[in-house]
Structure formats: structure tokens, C-alpha cells
Subunit: 266 residues, 3 copies
């Protein structure tokens, strides 16, 4: 189980090493994702051209693939980047935005996951259930199901792909198919900011870059974002200021705040 | 004519139903558009791939098409989404960003509008005049004309396409070709924030999703954004903080503020 | 050498003329770049379609080309826009984001620069060294070298392309191959905000649009952004609020603040 000790060790490692996190992500969140990684201490790069993704992966310490505004060409680039990352054995984080909403999304996910084992899959309950083959309709990109409903699907998916699965929601579930942890950090206003789930995936990439235990790294990422969301909510009057304050909180996070706020269950 | 009563009914409906608004919009505003819709209470989805737009439209309560950073492939996807929305009779909001600035923009607009009657067209004065065939040069994406100058063009366009036309500016004009309303809400700093016009179009989509009278829904959207702009300006020192505060204001808007501030003319 | 006098003359010219700055830039920074230009007083347009870039360039007072999230199609559009700008003799600002990180980036830069002399090239130390053919590895899009290391490369590049070269960093270096100036404005937190380098390039475009001396215009742009970064840092608690406050500062900048803060060396 994670603790202030283990989490803070990773944050210090990110701040010292500034790992390069290569993101192939969606248009909606590129700015906020890059800013979240920079504020945490990582070094983000956004690059999606088929002509360069393999070479860029060669420089990176983690690859984060997010299909939020996918199109065929972008999926083809992701399909070049993923095996390149696997060949270098750097962590691969996969964010199946809107899986279950359209066939194109679900099928693109299965195609990409089939190319190389992801290290971590992070989605909302609907997305994880859709990937596990459950009959669920994702309502656009927002979940139509609760995290609890996705518990079986998450375990199944983790077993099937031999990876860690994160289901984010009011409480976040993290499992490798055997262990199953809950992170209770976060704030009710967070789902009203677009793309904080995508930010979570990017942070998972940064933590995996400095910690070779993906279950631990993913739990560190989710609790870090949750704690920063709580801190941000205290100085925010709505989702606009919350988005800004989450970035600030990632920059200023102290060990004391982690110690005071970390809420995880085994 | 709209009133606090009619406007507030729609806001409560959006907050309760969280209608899914499918946006095919430009890269500049995707983040702020999604956040504005989330803060108001709607559920945004951004999806533009030819492979999925028809299926995504099938889940949506409104389609918003915005050509701000158009390219041929994106226009082709819009050309698939629009008839799909028409077939389901969900509202279609069309934002002709930069119409009149280049032939490609003007011609793409006419092509898209020819595929299915838009429910609402929202643009600035130059854009509306360009669509009506008036000799006007749009200066990039900013208007080179005043709203008053576009009054005839707006009426003509509304008649021609049997739709509602919104011309936004210092005061916003809303017409279905017969009735002609003015919304006097807003703040002089708003044009210094990129994409608040695009936000307006997205909000028109959300209001049309819960109100089948497009003239009323469009007036509700424009006055809501104008009122939130006024509220935001009170706590802002420049366009950066204004952009953030508008999102906050959409989240926190109360009936009392609407009552105090709503300024419309028939 | 620049002074408060020369800088303030340009700022007033931008605020009065609102020059149209055509940006073909990356997805990460489109929103913040447009907002920075609007706040300064310029009129931004983002347009990248091969079908319209030449016509849009025909309306613009400056062209800013930034390869941050390049792909083949975007480079092809840049390759149409650049000669069109050269034919009209409007200033061309080139931002070689990530040059040296991948062959595709370095080669695309050389292809684009070969089409027409840029007016100003602005990059970080690694990027400028990579363009000058030095053996340096750009680490993603962040510099792996200090500005001092790039002094020779900057001079060489300026001679070779007969243009002005800006190397941004803790202090910014600006040279036309002969004169070499340093701008010492700025704040240590600025590199933690994504895309402030891209903002710098866009501001160089705005200043070049009103000042036909590119060396002076580039120094004005770099010191303006640096001063606004200092002002912003005073009211910010992290990179999130800094990004917002920089936009505000560009809007509210006064001659008094310029006078108090401008720090340049010949």
C-alpha cells in the first residue's frame, strides 16, 4: 500500500529527474496536460506525426496515448508509437476516452492495446466496462456508470492484459487484477473541469517514469491529483479557477499537505 | 420576448438534464468551449472523425459546427454530421468563423448550410453579411462591421434558410426573419478574450437542446453569456482572468443575478 | 539599442493599428497565443488549411510559423504560406520547436527556411544550435543547452539566413549577426508554463508588423514578455495563475512599468 513516504519519494524523483513524457493526446487538453506535467516537475512533449513518433519515443521515459479526439491518422501514429515504446520497455499509459460511445473508439482501443501490453489503462467506469466487453453505453465522454459497477470489469481487464487498471471517479479504483486499492482524495467540482481525467493519465505516465511498480505509481498519481484538487477547491469559486488552481497546486505541493490529506484504502 | 422566468427555466433544465452537446469546433477554443458547457451544466463531447461523427450525433441532443480552424477533412466530417443531425431532428448550430475572409471559408459555409437547414446561425457582423452575399471583407476572424450594419443581412439570411440568425457584438441581435430582438448584456473586454463568440455558439446549442423555440433559446444563450461576462469583469483585471471568471460565472449563476441584469429589447 | 521610448512607441502602434497576425502554430498553445496577441492589442488569426493560407496571408501584417505539433500536411501548408508572405514582403517569424529532437523536425525547418528568408527565427538554445548544424540533442521541446552556448550558433544562423535570431532563456539573446543584444527581463517560473516561447514568437510577429527594424522589434517583443512575466509573477502562486496573469499584464502594461523594469544590454 502506498504512503506519504512512498509518494513523496516519487514526487522528489520527478522534480529532480524531470522525466520526458511523450503524449499523443487530444486537442481539448493539450495545454492543460502540458502545464500539469511541467508544474509537477516533468518535461512534456506533444508529438503525433507518423514521421517522428518512433524517434520521439526514443527520447522519452514514458508514453501516454489518449484517444480523446481520435481520427484514423492519429490512431495510425499511435500504432507506430506503442510498439516503439514497448521495444524500449518504457511505460505505456493508455486512456480510452469515450470507449463504448462509438464503435470507432472501442475498436481503435482494442487495436492499439493489441499492439503491446499497456502498463496502465486509466478510464472512467463506462470506458473500462466497454473495454472489458460489458454492455454499457458511454454517454459521450462522461461516464454513465459508477466506479463500483466497474470493479469486476477492471479486475478482468487487468488480468486479460496483464496490466494495471485505474477507474477514476468519486473514489478511484486501482488494481493489477489481484490487489485492489481505493484513493478517496479529490473534490466534487473536479468532473466539471474538462480533461482532469486526461491529466490523471499524464501524471500516471510521469510517476511510472520514476517508479517501476505500476500499481504503486498509478496510486501515487491518482492521490497526487486528488490532493491537488482538494487544495485547489479551497481557493476556487468555480471550475474555471479550479482548473488554474490545480496546476498551481501541483507546483507547490508539499510533503506536509500529502501527509495531512492522503486517503487510501487497501 | 424572453424574461428571467423563461431564461431560468432553461438553465434549470440544462442543469438537470445535462444534455450532450456534440461540438465539431476549432482547435483554439476546444478547452474553453468544453469548460463553458460543463460549467453551465451541459455535457460536451468533441469528436470530428469521419468514422464516428454520425454515430456520435446519434447520442447527442444538439450539434454545434464551428469552422474556425477548418481544413478539407474537417469540412468533410461536418458534412457527414449535419445530415445525421437533421435526420434525428436535433438542433444544429452553425458558427461561420471567418466567413468572408477567404473563399474557402465562405464556400465551405454555403456547402455545409446547403446540406440541411441550420437551426441557428451565430456569427459576427462581417460573417453574417458575407453569408448573405453582401460585399464585406472579414478581417481575419474579427468583424470589420458593426451589428447595426448586419441587420438587413441577418433578416435576409433568416428568411432564406428558415432559421434563427444571431449577430453578436456590443449588443447582440437575434432574429427569425420576423421578430428581431436585442440583448444588451455583455462587457467591453469580452472581445479581447479569444473565442467567446465560439462559446456563445456552444451555449446556443445547449439551450436549443432543452427548448424547442430556437429564437427564445438563442436569446437565452446570448443573455446568459453576456450576464456572465459582466459578472466576470467585476473580478477581472484583464482578458486572462476574464476568460477564467466567465467559466466560474456560468457555474455559479443565480436567478437573482439574472433578474438584476437581464437587458433585452423587442 | 532599444529604450522605453522605442518600445512604448511600438506598443502604442500595436494598440492603435491592431495588426492582423496570421499564426500557423501548434495545438498546445493556440488559445494562449491568440489571447496574448489580443491582450497586447493585435488581431490574431489561426488558419492552416492549404486551401486558404495564401489568401489569409494576403490579409495579414505578419506571418508566424511554429512547428510545435507538426505533421506532413501542416508543413505543406506552411510551405505555401511562407512564399506568399515573402511575395508580399510582410515579416515572417519562424519558431523551430523541437528542432534537433527528431530528424523530421530539423529537416522540416530547413525545408521551410529554404523557401524564403525568415525575418526572425526565435528558439531556445538547443533549437538554434540544431539549426546551425551543431551537434546538440534537443530534449523533447525543452532546451538541453544554455543561451550562452548558443551565441556562436545564433550569429552564424543570422549571417547564413540574413535574418534576426532570438535565443530565449534566462536572458534572451538577440542578434542580426553583427549587433548582439541581451534582454534580462523575465522570471524563473516562466519555463514552467507551456508555450511562453511560442507566445514570444507571436509577439515578435506583432512588433515586426509595426516596426520594420526586426532587430529592434524582436528586442521589444522579448522585453515586453519578460516584463509582463515579472509583473505576473508578483500576483501568482504557481504556473497556472502565472499563465493567466501574463495575459492580463499584456493588456494592462503601462509606460511606467516599462520604464521601471526594462533591462537590456548591448
Amino acid at each position: 500500500m502506498i504512503s506519504t513516504e512512498t509518494l513523496w519519494r516519487d514526487i522528489e524523483a520527478i522534480r529532480e529527474q524531470a522525466p520526458l513524457v511523450h503524449n499523443i493526446t487530444n486537442f481539448v487538453v493539450m495545454n492543460t496536460t502540458a502545464n500539469a506535467l511541467l508544474s509537477l516537475g516533468a518535461s512534456p512533449v506533444m508529438a503525433h506525426a507518423a514521421d517522428e513518433v518512433e524517434e520521439m519515443v526514443g527520447l522519452a521515459s514514458a508514453l501516454v496515448v489518449n484517444i480523446g479526439t481520435l481520427s484514423q491518422m492519429w490512431v495510425d501514429s499511435m500504432a507506430k508509437a506503442i510498439p516503439a515504446a514497448a521495444a524500449r520497455t518504457i511505460p505505456i499509459v493508455f486512456d480510452p476516452v469515450g470507449a463504448g460511445a462509438t464503435r470507432f473508439r472501442t475498436e481503435s482501443c482494442l487495436r492499439l492495446m493489441g499492439l503491446a501490453q499497456p502498463t496502465v489503462i486509466r478510464g472512467n467506469a463506462s470506458e473500462i466496462m466497454a473495454l472489458a466487453g460489458a454492455q454499457v453505453q458511454t454517454r459521450g465522454v462522461d461516464s454513465g456508470a459508477a466506479v463500483d459497477d466497474a470493479q469486476g470489469a477492471a479486475r478482468q481487464l487487468a488480468h486479460q492484459w496483464q496490466c494495471v487498471v485505474v477507474v477514476s471517479g468519486a473514489s478511484d479504483l486501482i488494481t493489477d487484477g489481484e490487489a485492489l486499492w481505493w484513493v478517496d482524495n479529490g473534490h466534487a467540482m473536479m468532473p466539471r473541469v474538462t480533461g482532469l481525467g486526461c491529466t490523471a493519465s499524464a501524471l500516471v505516465g510521469a510517476f511510472c517514469a520514476v517508479n517501476d511498480q505500476p500499481l504503486t505509481a498509478a496510486a501515487h498519481a491518482m492521490s497526487t491529483l486528488g490532493i491537488c484538487g482538494e487544495l485547489a477547491a479551497e481557493s476556487s469559486v468555480g471550475p474555471g479557477s479550479l482548473q488554474v488552481a490545480v496546476i498551481d497546486a501541483l507546483y507547490g505541493l508539499t510533503r506536509e499537505e500529502v501527509e495531512r490529506r492522503l486517503r487510501v484504502r487497501g
